[in-house]
Amino acid sequence: MSERLLIGTRKGLFDLRRDHDTWTVAGASFLGDPISMLLADPRDGTLYAAQALGHFGVKLQRSRDNGATWQECPAPAFPAGEADAPSVSYLFCLETAGADKPGWIWCGTIPGGLFLSKDHGETWSLNDALWRLPERKEWMGGGFDDSGVASICVDPRRSDAIVIGVSTGGVWLTDDAGASWRPSGGGMHAEYMPPQRRYDTTAQDVHRLVQCSAAPDTFWVQHHNGVFRSTDRARSWQEVTAIRPAKFGFAVAVHPNDPDTAWFVPGVKDECRIPVDAKLVVARTRDGGRSFDVLTEGLPQANAYDLVYRHALDVDASGTRVSMGSTTGHLWLSEDSGDHWALIAGHLPPITCVRFC
């Protein structure tokens, strides 16, 4: 099981370690600076931290000594002279590009671009095929000014097969490492759209998309207006209506070895975004979404106004340890797949990203 957690917050990066059954904050970096995303590359141990500096733009930091020191490397940027004059405003997600492509990193951004580095972040190139999709003009901001590529799932069987989630812009697939893209099949619906467009695949607000490592044809989505699941590699989606106490939320995590087990943190839709009845709960399914356990043990059940952002829920490689961090700076961890939770840090800045490593 993972013995380390990296936490990205509104005011820096926090490094938590497990020692004698106790989790403690072992270090902090970039205090005062917003961290939008973290990546621990299991292929070579490199750590990456994406920053969203309020005045000075997005930055990318890299550590090759396990977080002891960090060096800034160039952040993804749109080519000068690009039509519509885009500029990256947020590094939304970072993922490794596959075991057979050491040093290759994918980055999703706001506005909704996808960038690839083949040299540990030294240089980045915009994925032109995705950026030039005619349908991209239909993408919209969902809470941000512009659309964003919030999720990147690289197939563990074949690294050229990638599925991304766009908020707002649907799910998109490539089988040729991004040379061409196609929208996922239907099944999702967006209640906030005009009736004629509700099932439009490019109109879906995919808050978070995750893929089961051991059964990569299974995906889960926490969508703006519900939970969806695909068992045919995003060719079709089925709504999961048994989720409770609410179908709205941002985060989802799937068990790495069991495609039927997934965790969610429901909240009150739409702009309200607080726990139902001010009780923070985790919803877990173990049967592919037919039923859900509402997990409360160790979580605040009164006056809780925590929101768990889309990248702030994670499960480790064993599927047993689960952690989540909230907008109030509380960080919880479960050692038993969510049955019991413990508060392991209570006064952190608002949490954007939780990553086991």
Partner: protein, 89 residues
């Protein structure tokens, strides 16, 4: 040559001492600064070379008017001051 001064808050992220640089426009002056310190560019300008939304550039006491082309004129005795706009957080 114009004198170029950066907000102290920028010094937290990278070294950018007071310096002099040639050039007749803000763009010209800053291009010389960036040539010597390439990493500084992305802190001041966005991907398209525009002044970042929350950065303000002054020539002496006057805020520049061209945040896209940075064509405001700069004289030899002028000071280019790169400030951060104030915001909360």
């Amino acid at each position: 040559m114009a004198q170029v001064v950066f907000t102290a808050n920028l010094q937290r992220h990278l070294v950018c001492p007071v310096q002099t640089a040639p050039g007749n426009t803000v763009r010209g002056v800053l291009d010389h600064v960036f040539a010597a310190q390439p990493r500084l560019r992305s802190y001041i300008l966005d991907d398209q070379g525009r002044v970042r939304k929350h950065v303000a550039i002054y020539v002496n006491a006057d805020r520049i008017t061209d945040n896209v082309g940075l064509s405001d004129l700069v004289g030899d005795q002028d000071e280019v001051f790169v400030a951060q706009a104030l915001s909360g957080g």
